[in-house]
Amino acid sequence: MEPVGRKEELLRRIAVALRGHEAIKSASGATAGREAALSVADRIARFRNMFESQGGNFLAGPSLDPLLPELGEALRISGVTALFSPRGDERARLVAETLVPFGPFRLASPGEIRQLSAPSSAGFQTAEFAIAETGTIVQSGQKGKTLLPGLISDVHVAILSPAAFVDRMEECLAALSEDLPRTISFITGPSRTGDIEQTLTIGAHGPKKVIAVLLP
């Protein structure tokens, strides 16, 4: 396959190029955006602000029941008919199942949604982190988790608990680094493009709507 030594040759070429040319000396240690840790309530408030300003929908309540009509309506106006959640995500499955009577909905399997002929779908999944700094939802493939709900559905419903919130990106990456999964996916609002006349248009390839549902 690979001619022997191409990689070694590349590294050697770089080493030779660097020889005799002074490296810059600079101070180090500053870290932008570092500030005192926020309280959980402030963290959630900042997340909500950033998430909504980038096109995300945020729902929170003391329990699931009072949120169901609004969530159902949000999915219905997006044309969603099929609801799916990954195997093993009990919390997401419960939300999807409870929501069925609140619109023209039925439950579907992830396999069905992966087909090109799939109906308009909402994918439900428990999010691993929510980053306050940027208003970002984090899904990873850790421990064999699927990425399909946030990837191929028309509406992505991310279920959050207060413990999922972190202040900054660093904290989330550090936590995931211990057992680094194949994929870490930062999701901030719906899929968008500005490629035609620089006009912001929602729903390029990923979900057209992202709803964060915060439950205690």
Binding site: M1, E2, K7, E9, L10, L11, R13, I14, A15, A17, L18, H21, I24, S26, S28, A30, T31, A32, G33, Q54, Q115, L116, T136, G141, G144, K145, T146, L147, L151, R168, M169, E170, L173, A174, S177, L180, P181, R182, T183, I184, S185, F186, I187, T188, G189, S191, R192, T193, G194, D195, I196, E197, Q198, T199, T201, I202, G203, A204, H205, G206
Partner: protein, 473 residues
């Protein structure tokens, strides 16, 4: 891609007389400049992040052999196959061999400037692979048989009507000039490809050395789909994309989207590490990473090292008065704007690319917005000096500049010449402007009038009024 930078002036003239192009460029750059300024103003940590990003990038380059070696080891440990390409031809040969060995007939490609640089798509297509550009802008440009004209917005030179006509002609879709409908068409046509492609091709925004991870930043979601659904993932990245640690990534995520589109963060950031694990329900079984040199190790050697800090945000394009006037295609190669004016001569040869280094007013706006503080105007000046040292400058220009320097440092000669100029100009003047200059200087008056010498030279005025100095009024 074949460089055409030596034709910069001719291509600029064409761009300047294209009214549609002029309208799209000014709309786009105006939007980007405003959005960036707002995003920076809303983030108090931006300057600190710039210092930090600049420092990390430079320190990484200063020990690139070490960091790249680490990246290779870590990525291989997690199942990646690493390929080193000395130049574009090697990259093309490796990519087509991979496609052949993996039995790929359809590939979906995310936007990659390095892919453009080596014409990866062309090579794969020549080898019989159908390559579909999945970034909407690139998809449009591919249908039109053109090349991108902006680093982050490839189709800025196209209007919605032009896009719609393309979709009618090439895809058989009904005509619509509504942008959401055009986007929906592309979504449907490309979803089909994502679900059936055997290989996803992408670039890399960052390569994290301590984990062997690839970081990809997109808004549309094509980058995630193309690197998650197909069986094979092929990455092509320049060797300068390495950052030492995964934990360095947030600094650059604070800089890149704000500088590029004015977003606090791009919609999607994917950190991809190795191949699909046994327990993973999706992800590529094979991961090939082509590390491209193509002249970069040569740039590393000398005084231009800082240009390799570039994170390809496009901020310097948007702010540049030259780019704002002529757009991306005039530059004649993959990288337009101020960053391209430095990279192109260094990567394609001074003789090819040096018109770009001269096509700058050195106003410094590019350096002001650069998120990693690349001193672009200084590098452009270095290139001009190299041009002279290698005898590539027009001897008349060198002679003229030497004469100019001699005159300007001798007050008596300057005064005498000013008088002569005053007399000559009274003969040749037309409405206070000189419409032409003699041969050798006619390049100036081809495009505009030369301003006439003032009837009273400044130095004479100064002498007359020297009693009235502003500082002892």
């Amino acid at each position: 891609m074949e460089p055409l930078s030596r034709f910069f002036y001719r291509r600029s003239e064409k761009a300047l007389s294209d009214a549609t192009l002029q309208a799209s460029i000014s709309r786009t750059t105006g939007k980007f400049v405003g959005a960036r300024a707002d995003a920076v103003a809303a983030f108090p940590g931006f300057e600190t992040a710039r210092d930090e990003g600049s420092r990390i990038k430079r320190e990484t380059l200063d020990r690139l052999d070490h960091h790249l070696g680490r990246f290779i080891d870590e990525a291989e440990r997690r199942g990646a196959v690493i390929h080193a390409a000395r130049d574009g031809a090697e990259a093309r040969e490796i990519a087509t061999r991979i496609a052949k060995e993996e039995g790929v007939t359809l590939a979906v490609k995310s936007k990659s400037m390095v892919g453009e640089e080596v014409d990866l798509t062309g090579a794969l297509e020549a080898a019989g692979v159908e390559v579909v550009e999945s970034d909407l802008g690139e998809f449009i440009v591919q249908l039109a048989g053109e090349t991108p004209s902006h680093i982050i917005a490839p189709a800025v030179h196209k209007t919605r009507e032009q896009v719609s006509k393309l979709f009618v002609e090439k895809l058989g879709e009904p005509y619509t000039d509504k942008i959401p409908e055009l986007v929906a068409i592309a979504r449907r046509r490309l979803r089909e490809k994502f679900l059936s492609a055997g290989m996803g091709v992408s670039g890399a925004n960052f390569l994290c050395a301590d984990t062997g991870s690839i970081a990809l930043v997109t808004n549309e979601g094509n980058g995630r789909m193309g690197t998650t659904l197909p069986r094979v993932h092929l990455v092509v990245a320049g060797i300068e994309k390495v950052i030492p640690r995964l934990s360095d990534l947030p600094v650059f995520l604070r800089l890149l989207p704000r500088s590029a589109t004015g977003q606090p963060i791009s919609t999607y950031v994917s950190v991809l590490t190795g191949v699909k694990r046994p327990e993973d329900p999706e992800g590529p079984e094979k991961l090939h990473i082509i590390l491209l040199d193509n002249g970069r190790s040569g740039i590393l050697k000398g005084k231009y090292r800082d240009i390799l800090k570039c994170i390809r945000c496009g901020a310097c394009l948007n702010i540049c008065p030259v780019y704002q006037s002529v757009g991306g295609h005039a530059y004649g190669w993959t990288y337009p704007g101020p960053i391209g004016s430095v990279l192109t001569p260094l990567m394609t040869g001074l003789a090819e690319g040096v018109p770009l280094a001269n096509a700058s007013t050195l106003c410094g706006a590019c350096a002001d917005v650069c998120p990693v503080k690349i001193p672009i105007p200084g590098l452009l000046l270095e290139l001009r000096a190299d041009e002279r040292d290698r005898g590539l400058k027009d001897p008349a220009e060198v002679f003229g500049m030497k004469g100019y320097a001699a005159v300007m440092s001798r007050a008596g000669i300057l005064e005498a010449l000013e008088r002569i100029a005053g007399v000559i100009s009274s003969v040749f003047l037309k409405e206070g402007k000189a419409p032409w200059l003699p041969f050798r200087f006619s390049g100036w008056t081809d495009r505009r009038d030369f301003p006439a010498p003032a009837p009273q030279p400044f130095r004479k005025l100064w002498k007359k009024q020297r009693g009235i100095r502003p500082w002892n009024r």
